[in-house]
Structures are given as C-alpha cells and as structure tokens.
C-alpha cells in the first residue's frame, strides 16, 4: 500500500560530509581555505598572480576548470604549489574533488590555500567545499548589476573584489549601484577594488588575507 513518509533530509548530505572532512583537515593544520568564485574571465587567476607578484604572502592553489591545465601552469610558473582539477563538463567544484586535491599536495608551511572555482556565478555557490570564506570576484566589464542578479553569491561572500578597475574610465560601470546593492545583500562585507595589472588594491587584499590567517592560527 502506498503511503507518504516524512523525510526532511538535506539534499547536500553527501557533500556536507566531505566538506566537513576538508574543514577538519584545514582546522588541524591551521590552513585558511578561500573559495574564489567569479565569472569566466573575471580575473581570478590574474588576481592570484598579482597576489604573488605584489606581496610576500605564502599560499597554495587548487585550480578548478572544465578543461585544460592552463591556469595551473600559470600558477606553477610562479613557484606556487598548485594542483589542477578538471571537471570535464561539470560547472562547479564539489567537496570530494577538493578532498582529493588536498591529498595530492605538500602543504608543509602553508597557511593559506585558494580554491579557484570553475568560472560561474551560480552553481559554485551551492556546494560547500569546506572553505572558511567564499570570495566573490566581479570584474568591471561584467557590469554593476551582478549582485542583485546573483544574490546568493554576494550574500554568502566573506569578501567581494571588484577587479579590472583600470577600465572604470572607459566603461559605464556605476559603482554606486554596485555598492548599494552589495550593502543590501551583505551589509558588512569587505569590498576591495583591485587592478591586478599594477597591483592597486593588492595591499588591502593581502591585509585581509593575513587577518584571516592570524585569526585562524589563534583559534
């Protein structure tokens, strides 16, 4: 006989278990895990390059892409420890992929690990990777309407970076709209303007990261 049963169970249960595994790995080693989320071409890899070029902060990277190891090659060329994860069609990373990647890395002396998610403003937000912070990367050419169009990301972000600010004089990007919408979604979120080409804003970005590292190491 047919009957209806109450289930009330999270759809994300399997991912949550693995995310917790990653979290506990990072907790034990005092590693801050930062999940970088932004559109394809928003400047996520270039931001990591600039972070290395314009500061002394030590970090490692897990690169997520649908195909190719191009991003990992760019990071590797800087002498930064990196593992490339390819999703072969998948539009986001899940905790099992990060869990596998950290097992392949030598994280001795590393207190900051970036996961550069697959370029996408929707799907990556839904999957907990065990990160301490999601960081939203929005570039000037994408336009100022992104926070309200993709509210989940901007609400969840532990920091929001506006990249390619050198293009502000040439494009009709209304920064007041961007900041006002962001304030509605995430009132106290750190908001940084960055030009990875000349290092503008990298100092503030690194100070934020160092604060996160200090906070975690003192816990």
């Amino acid at each position: 006989m047919a009957k209806v049963v109450d289930v009330k169970k999270s759809v994300m249960e399997a991912d949550e278990v693995l995310a917790e595994k990653v979290r506990s790995f990072c907790r034990d080693r005092r590693i801050v895990l930062v999940n970088l989320i932004g559109s394809p071409g928003s400047g996520k890899t270039t931001l990591l390059e600039a972070t290395k070029k314009y500061s002394d902060i030590k970090f490692a990277v897990i690169e997520g892409d649908v195909e190719t190891a191009r991003d990992a090659e760019r990071i590797n060329a800087l002498g930064v420890p990196v593992v490339q994860v390819n999703t072969h069609g998948g539009c986001h990373l899940e905790a099992n992929l990060v869990n596998g990647a950290i097992g392949e890395m030598d994280l001795e002396g590393i207190s900051l690990l970036f996961v550069e998610n697959v370029g996408n403003l929707v799907c990556p937000v839904e999957f907990d990777l065990g990160e301490d912070y999601k960081v939203a990367v929005n570039s000037v050419p994408e336009g100022a309407d992104k926070p309200m169009k993709y509210p989940h990301l901007f609400h969840k972000a532990g920091a929001v970076l506006l990249t390619k600010t050198d293009l502000l004089p040439y494009l009709s990007f209304d920064i007041d709209v961007f900041e006002k919408d962001l304030e509605k979604l995430n009132p106290d979120v750190p908001f940084l303007k960055i030009n990875s080409m000349n290092g503008d804003g990298i100092k503030e970005w690194v100070e934020l990261l160092e604060g996160w590292v200090r906070e975690k190491s003192s816990r």
């Binding site: 006989m1 209806v4 169970k9 994300m12 399997a14 991912d15 899940e94 839904e126 609400h155 995430n186």
Partner: protein, 114 residues
C-alpha cells in the same frame, strides 16, 4: 546546471532510505527548494527522470515545492519578501536581519509502497 549534481545526490539518498526501510517501491519524491538556491524546477525534474532510468527508481517522479524568500527584522519584527530582497530592513534600516525562508534544499517527503 548544478541540478544534475543535486539529483544524483537525491537519488543516492533515496536508494539508501529505500534499502534501510525495506520499501518495495518509490512513487514520488517531494523536495522543498528555496528560491535563493537558484534551482530551476523543470530542469531538476527532467534531470531526475533521466538519471533515475535504469535504477530502482525508474518510473517514479520528482515534485519540487519552491519556497518564496522571506526576511525578518529582529529589531522591528517586520517581514518582507523577494521584492525587497535585502539583508537590511527596508522599514527601520537595521542589519539585524534573518532569512526565514528561501534557503531550503531538502528532501521533504516521499510516497512509498511497502
């Protein structure tokens, strides 16, 4: 298109529950999904039909109940919805705002045969 990943996870959970409870057949699974979750119900239901083929769940269907966003201000006790999507109270300006609904992502119930 993260719906397929979600569906795979749901199928895994259902098969697990089916085995544990010794249910003969699953007719229907109902999910509650908040609007903030950016899931498209049609795609999700289609993905379920596709992914359940060839499994013990073939022939069953998925129903999605979308949950509207609802915000609550802890300072002035007022509520509002998606039309004023904000974590700052549109009435009193406080940032003591809680999202009551809109983040749901759960298997709510199932119709089963035993």
């Amino acid at each position: 298109m993260h719906e397929m990943s979600l569906v795979e996870s749901v199928i895994e959970s259902i098969l697990d529950l089916k085995e544990k409870n010794d249910w003969k057949k699953i007719n229907r699974v109902t999910l509650k999904i908040g609007k903030m979750r950016q899931v498209i119900p049609d795609i999700m239901e289609f993905a379920y039909t596709a992914a359940s083929q060839g499994t013990e769940l073939e022939g069953s269907n998925m129903v999605i109940i979308q949950v509207e966003m609802e915000f609550f201000c802890k300072s002035c006790n007022r509520r509002w919805g998606e039309e004023d999507m904000a974590f700052i109270c549109p009435f009193c300006g406080s940032s003591e705002v809680e999202m009551l609904h809109g983040m749901e992502l759960e298997i709510d119930s199932m119709e089963v045969e035993n």
